[in-house]
């Protein structure tokens, strides 16, 4: 299974809208693991690493989550405990089973978050959300099912107008939705009760990397003392510590096509994500529970140290 196949498989997975790109990536890797034919453990792991890099390089928007997801996946299946066995096939079997286990864990995340998250939406609330996020949508759905009556404003979120997609989805759940210009966020925020956003990646200090525009939304919310809640699955926790927007690596900020294309001046190019510092975030609602930004670093520390 070579690079092209991987990308193909991955993009197919992505077609199906209901899985987040990270999950798609994990599925792909798992698939790769199954198909892989190398006979040595180290070789296998190297291949997986390569495969991961290929995935990260593929031209999808949510590269942060892809990388973090893939990272975690590898880490999970290659945990020392499971690799002592001398028989390679045995080892591989274990890896695959663990991989499946991980996948299934990952898939339950969203429903967990929905259960944790819906009580945060008060009856009669006016909610502002940004761009398209499956998690946010599922939370809102849950809330609506629990007889909460609320209105949602969605920013259209240029350049890809993902906001309209979001609106469409919410209308399916018969939630009243209004799409607004990204620029109108400040205007609307006055009457908004709470701001909800998803996340591409959650970085080590509890800040988030998300669709461009989240940062200014956070700033506005802070200025008007409105709470900003982030909904994110735990596999989006990334080993990344940006100091400011500039410090955010380019490979996250720009599409690969853009990066590889040498006759594009990045200075003129719009980034697709931005970094929202923890100070602007009230709470992160994850499948590990409701966390304050400081709790996130706690999790990551536990994980990597």
């Amino acid at each position: 299974m070579d690079g092209a196949e991987i990308v193909k498989f991955f993009t197919e997975k992505l077609e199906n809208h209901n899985v987040s790109s990270a999950v798609a990536a994990i599925e792909t890797l798992l698939e790769y693991l199954r198909k892989d034919t190398t006979e040595t453990l180290s070789g296998l792991i190297d291949n997986l690493k390569k495969a991961k890099d290929i995935l990260v390089e593929t031209d999808c928007l949510a590269r942060t989550s892809v990388s973090s997801g893939a990272e975690l996946f590898l880490r999970f299946i290659t945990l020392a405990s499971s690799l002592e066995n001398p028989d390679f096939q045995e080892v591989k079997r274990v890896m695959i089973s663990r991989g499946e286990l991980f996948l299934q864990k990952v898939c339950t995340c969203r429903s967990k978050i929905a259960n944790l998250g819906w009580p945060f939406i008060k009856d009669g609330a006016i909610i502002l959300t940004h761009s398209y996020s499956r998690v946010v949508a599922s939370v809102l759905k849950q809330a609506a099912e629990n007889k909460k009556r609320f209105t949602v404003y969605v920013t259209q979120s240029c350049p890809d107008d993902a906001g309209y997609e979001m609106a469409k989805k919410l209308r399916q759940y018969s939630i009243p939705v209004i799409t607004i210009l990204d620029a109108a966020a400040g205007y609307i925020l006055e009457k908004v009760d709470v701001v909800l956003v998803g996340a591409e990646g959650v970085v080590e200090n509890g800040g988030i990397v998300n669709k461009i525009g989240s940062y200014q939304l956070g700033l506005c919310a802070k200025a008007l003392n409105k709470p900003l809640y982030v909904f994110a699955e735990s596999f989006k926790f990334a080993r990344l510590y940006p100091l400011n927007q500039h410090d955010l690596p380019d490979r996250f900020k720009y599409k690969t096509s853009v990066l590889n294309n040498n006759n594009i001046n990045l200075k003129e190019e719009h980034p697709i994500v931005d970094y929202t510092p923890p100070s602007l975030i009230s709470l992160l609602i994850t499948d590990l529970g409701v966390l304050t930004p400081s709790a996130v670093s706690d999790e990551l520390i536990k994980l990597y140290l």
Partner: protein, 356 residues
């Protein structure tokens, strides 16, 4: 037979306890916590159960009843969860496993996890009862000691000739200030705290100990704040995000303090920490706040007159103080920043018990 009667006895007590809860027949959250845990201890000792799971179920059942009886008193829920956690720990300990497996859910755990080996706590252990009860007793002792432990830290926080502002009447704060007064000389400004005006009681007891005390009205908080070095208040309970559920008016005090950049120190024993977040409480202030009778705000004598029929008079009992206004939280195990609450919580309660 005997056990039968014992059960009845327990249920009777339960009924009585629930009634007291409903009619707020308790005096302060410590008292309530104490009553609750005693009651739970009775349950453990007097009801019949074969293994931990069964016990936990009964406690959960009773616990739910208690919580719904007085939803705005989080201490009850805390006690229930605490006891459950104790049972889990003891169970695990008796099985000779590590404490870790009874610990909070985490990424790391998620990765190390070997499939779902979660224990269903059904192994019957005969010595469990005794050990659990011992543990509970220990915990009760800890609770009893808490006020003392808090006030012991007073000296570290109050230096001489400070002007300290406090609100209403909190036993903890009272003890804290008196403790400090033994060593240091300082000035206390007590906000009377309408509509209950408990501040007057506090002021009286402080003054009787010879502490320079000045009573001010709620309206004067902002005016006086520019002269205050520290604000020290008690709290009803501490929420998971480090915010406070404190006596009505606390938010005003906190705001005034932050406007004048005066540190706000909150005193509260560990048992006041609870898992709730402000906005997920009944979806609104519904159960968060308790609205008392308008009587104290406006006498029925005038309040009921024909011309004021449609006037709505509110006397909320509590205020929500967001964590960013709180500087320090001093509990019986020392001082912490409000942003660290989540950690303390994860040590206090078991994730599976968040929803009973």
């Amino acid at each position: 037979m005997t056990s039968q009667t014992r059960d009845n006895d327990v249920t009777d007590k339960m009924e009585q306890f629930l009634l007291d809860l409903k009619q707020e027949q308790f005096n302060g959250s410590y008292d309530l916590a104490y009553k609750t845990i005693n009651h739970l201890r009775k349950l453990i000792s007097q009801t019949r159960w074969t293994h931990a799971q069964e016990l936990m179920n009964t406690i959960k059942k009773e616990g739910k009843k208690m919580i719904t009886a007085q939803p705005s008193e989080y201490v009850v829920g805390n006690m229930v969860r605490r006891v459950l956690k104790i049972i889990r720990e003891e169970y695990v300990r008796l099985l000779g496993e590590s404490e870790e497996s009874a610990n909070k859910e985490s990424l790391h755990k998620m990765l190390t996890a070997e499939g779902n080996e979660r224990d269903d706590h059904t192994k019957p252990l005969k010595e469990l009862k005794t050990t659990v009860i011992e543990a509970v007793n220990e915990y009760i002792d800890e609770m009893e000691a808490s006020i003392h432990n808090i006030s012991a830290q007073a000296i570290e926080h109050i230096h001489s000739n400070e002007v300290i502002l406090t609100l209403g009447k909190s036993r903890t704060v009272e003890a804290f200030l008196k403790q400090a007064a033994k060593k240091r000389k300082f000035h206390v400004i007590v906000v009377e705290g309408s509509p209950l005006y408990h501040g007057h009681e506090l002021a009286k007891s402080l003054a009787s100990k010879g502490i320079e005390t000045t009573v001010i009205t709620d309206t004067a908080i902002f005016a006086i704040m520019s002269r205050v070095n520290k604000v020290i208040i008690g709290t009803h309970s501490v929420l998971a995000n480090g915010g406070l559920k404190a006596v009505n008016g606390a938010h005003m005090v906190a705001l005034a303090a932050s406007h004048h950049a005066v540190p706000l120190i909150v005193l509260g024993a560990m048992f006041k920490l609870c898992l709730l977040h402000y906005s997920d409480i009944g979806g609104s202030e519904a159960t968060f706040n308790r609205l008392a009778s308008p009587q104290e705000v406006l006498d029925y004598y005038d309040g009921g007159t024909e011309e004021l029929v449609n006037v709505q008079i509110y006397s909320p009992t509590f205020d929500y103080v967001p964590p960013e206004l709180v500087t320090l939280f001093i509990s019986n195990i020392g001082g912490n920043a409000p942003s660290y609450m989540y950690r303390l919580l994860s040590e206090l309660y078991h994730p599976d018990d968040h929803v009973l």
